[in-house]
Amino acid sequence: MLIALSSSIFFVLALTLVGFNFYQPAERYAWLTAIGGGLLGLVSVFLWQAQMNFGFSLPLWGATKVFATPITFSANGLTWPYAVSLATLAIAILLTSATRLNFENILTWAGSLALTGVGLLAVTADNPLTLLLVWGALDLVELIIQLRSVEGPVNHEKVVASFVTRALGSGLLIWANLVSVAAGHPAGFTFMPAGAGLYLVIASSLRMGALPFHLPYPPTSTLKRGFGTSLRLVSAASSLAVLAHLPSASLASTLTPFLLALIIAAALYSGWMWLRAPDELSGRPYWVVCLAALSIVSALSGNPIGSVGWGCALVLLGGSLFLSSIQHPWLNRALLIGAFSASTLPFSLTAGAWLANLSLLFPFVAIAQTLMLTGYIRHALRASGREAPETQPSWTQTMYPFGIGLLIFDQILLGLIGWDGSRQIGAWALAVSVSLLTFGLFWATPRFRIFNPIRAADGLQRVPSHWLSNLQRPFDYLARMINSALEGDGGFMWTLLVLILFISLMAQGGR
């Protein structure tokens, strides 16, 4: 029941803030209430450790046999780190929001907290049915929020395309479940037969938002830092958490190497774009795709611990970077702890990332990781675009570092305690070589024009739009032809002809 308690705290808090917004919109206590409640939620997630491994199920949907699978949530050594990461991200968003122009926007805090509640349910979902429902909720929430916040036809089209892509991902999750049921297995992640797990991996990849590749928020949108970060990272974590449940046997397929190749290609491309992004917010979709791709590579190579490590890095490192809006020299240096966390060096958050044998994939994975790390360091140390601390009131100057610091502290903590991937030595030789490559690339970045971020900004604009309608044009033409034949004056005759064909085929089949 601790899972229900933790997520309820976030939901109740969100509702309380909505109440504040309607009845006492100018009330300053709203922020303190949010911080207090959020900390309570975080503490409750830490309390899970006292009972680990546990779960709870809701009553069945009906007495009939067709609803034999209950909605179930479970906490264990692979779901807890995600839960801690999400809860910490929620607090960090609230603490750092004090420095932003839209501080008064209580509804965005409520949204972040509600999303965290849903995120906690998503990462602890123990079977496909449960995950489908939580994904559905996240998708609808994201669709509504994005449609309300973006402006302009192109952005609207991208929001819809992104929703459709995620819905297709949910469809693949159902398909994986059906393949499992068809093979006579009970509905659940741990029982997936060979090949079924692959559909889940594809579902997860689709939902990561690689298609459409970039979703820009308008500069005036309140979604840009706080709530936007929450939306992207909670959604990503909820899609990746499923990978930790997959037994390696379920990924055995002749298609696995091809899928690995595609995912590594995505990691390389997004890593490259992340490195060259003009600023961290423009590069945020690439950060998400790159880290997700690394997480998927770990899962596909039969290493769920690595997958969780990358997933948590996505949330914690990404959160600390995307929430940094104040120029603070010490904090900028502290952000470099994130580079250690994503380096896969011993005792880091991602130390268990490459425990499985990568064989020929090693160089490609190392390059992708290097690009991602170099990009992270570059964006962490970037001074331009951030506000000077002197422009902020003194109390926010105290709160803001505390928010970023919490995310950094969690990275260190998760490297040492609390889950199956903590205190790992890991593949240290690979980690050292990636670290050396990262130093080399970081040195080279300002010295070679190829790494020039302005060209990358151009690249960001070249993402194709209208892909859906272009893809559909031939089908449109065909459907119009058939429709006009069936619905036109001779439609009845065509109908009878098709019918006679059908009956004669069926009659022949029966003989």
Binding site: W61, L132, G136, V160, L168, L486, T495, L499
Partner: protein
């Protein structure tokens, strides 16, 4: 009191009286209240069972004879009648919000009464005749006064009328089959006739081209009602056939034909939906796809077949009501409901657009919405025996999803800086809100349908036992 009087004669007369005497502004409330009353009566008072209230004994007798035919309701019919009149009440209450004239309530009441009679009539073959009469009343509902009927409505009545002799004729042959079940050629003839009859009635591909045509011509609310009412009762009629004739249930050939017909209907509807540019037609194709899905449910080799079919049918009433009401509201903005006239309409009618999107998502089986539990359950039942069939089901769903993406893109394509408004009145907001919340409740807690569904398998002697 007699069951047939309560659930057939009273709504029939009420419909007639509403048409003649009721003022337009009260007709929605009158019709809706009567339907609620009939639903509650069905839920509270068991048929053919004496109920003691103090010293007062109350019994609703099960059967009545009319012209040598009997209209009989059993105990198990109670939840079914409650569901039918409950959903009808939603449709009638929604008429005020949809701006439909009081003809809808009066004719709707009469149509529902006739369709209810079709599930009670004995010999059951007479249901085909009653369905035909109901279809004729639908014409009055769909064609506005003083307007010439167009191609869709003419094709509709032709197809419905062709179904009737085919079903009656197959019934006549089936009587012979019952006498000598070994006669294989007779069985095949009867099966083909029956299949054709129901293909016309249920609008199986390619006999469904009247639906998109009609959806373009007719008022969306009336069209939605037609898409809910006629197929629902036709399917109950079909279940009756299935229950009575063992060879129909056990025939592998008939089952394969139904599977192929279901897949063809679904896939074609999904693919056509993906290419539509008119909102009425999009709703029509979603309804056709669902008809294909129900046909697949008939091929489930399990005792859960009745539960599955009703799990699909009951939310369908709500989905179509919400969708059709949303379309009726948008029709004020664009009479033709064509994409090019509806660009950015979400900024002006956010609730109507939201309701349409939610209803569409529900009909394609999006998680959290009413259509999801039934589709998941059906897919899980079919998966062990027919996984490739499910691939085509998915293709159809993908087509519906693309249709949704295209319409949603049009709805939100507002020019930069366009302000958000709320052009719907409060009645429309309440009706759409209640409908949308209902879709979520049925999707998250499908056990709320349990009181209606639990007893339904007992309606049939063999199916679901």
């Amino acid at each position: 009191m007699n069951a047939a009087v309560i659930w057939i004669l009273i709504p029939l007369l009420a419909g007639l009286l509403t048409l003649l005497f009721a003022p337009e502004r009260f007709s929605a409330i009158l019709g809706g209240a009567l339907a609620v009353l009939l639903a509650l009566t069905a839920l509270i008072f068991p048929i053919d069972t004496a109920l003691l209230i103090g010293n007062f004994s109350l019994k609703i007798s099960a059967s009545v004879q009319v012209l040598g035919r009997s209209f009989t309701f059993g105990v198990a019919d109670g939840p079914l009648l409650a569901a039918i009149y409950g959903i009808s009440a939603l449709w009638f209450f929604g008429t005020q919000a949809s701006g439909t004239s009081n003809r809808f309530v009066s004719l709707g009441l009469m149509i529902v009464a006739l369709l209810t009679a079709s599930i009670a009539v004995e010999p059951f073959l007479f249901a085909a005749l009653i369905l035909e009469i109901a279809a004729m009343l639908v014409i009055v509902l769909l064609v506005p006064p003083y307007q010439k009927p167009q191609r869709g409505i003419i094709r509709f009545i032709i197809y419905q009328t062709l179904a009737m002799p085919l079903i009656l004729f197959s019934g006549w042959i089936l009587a012979g089959v019952e006498a000598g079940p070994g006669n294989l050629s007779m069985t095949t003839q009867a099966g083909t006739m029956l299949g054709l009859g129901f293909a016309f009635l249920l609008a199986i591909f390619p006999l469904n081209n009247w639906i998109p045509l009609l959806a373009e011509e007719a008022p969306p609310y009336a069209m939605g009602f037609l898409l809910w009412a006629l197929p629902t009762f036709t399917l109950i009629f079909a279940l009756d056939f299935f229950d009575r004739y063992t060879w129909l249930r056990t025939s592998q050939q008939f089952s394969s034909a139904m599977q192929i017909a279901g897949v063809l209907t679904m896939t074609s509807a999904g693919l056509f939906a993906a290419t539509q540019k008119q909102l009425g037609r999009l709703m029509a194709y979603a309804a056709i796809a669902e008809a294909g899905l129900v046909l697949l449910a008939f091929t489930v080799q399990s005792t859960e077949i009745v539960n599955l079919i009703f799990l699909l049918l009951i939310p369908r009433g709500l989905e179509l009501a919400v969708w059709a009401l949303g379309l009726s509201i948008l029709k004020r903005e664009s009479y033709a409901l064509k994409f090019e006239e509806l660009r950015g309409v979400a900024r002006k009618y956010p609730i109507a657009v939201g309701a349409i999107v939610i209803a569409h998502l529900s009909m394609l089986g999006f998680p959290l919405l009413a259509g999801f539990p039934a589709r998941l359950a059906l897919a899980q039942e079919l998966a062990p025996h027919a996984l490739p069939i499910l691939f085509w089901v998915y293709l159809s769903m993908a087509g519906l999803l693309i249709g949704l993406a295209r319409s949603l893109t049009v709805f939100v394509l507002a020019p930069e800086g366009a302000a958000w408004k709320l052009a719907e009145d409060w009645v429309q907001v309440v009706m759409l809100g209640v409908g949308a919340i209902g879709l979520f409740i049925l999707g998250i807690f499908p056990q709320t349908l349990q009181p209606f569904i639990a007893q339904l398998p007992t309606l049939f002697k063999h199916l679901g036992q």
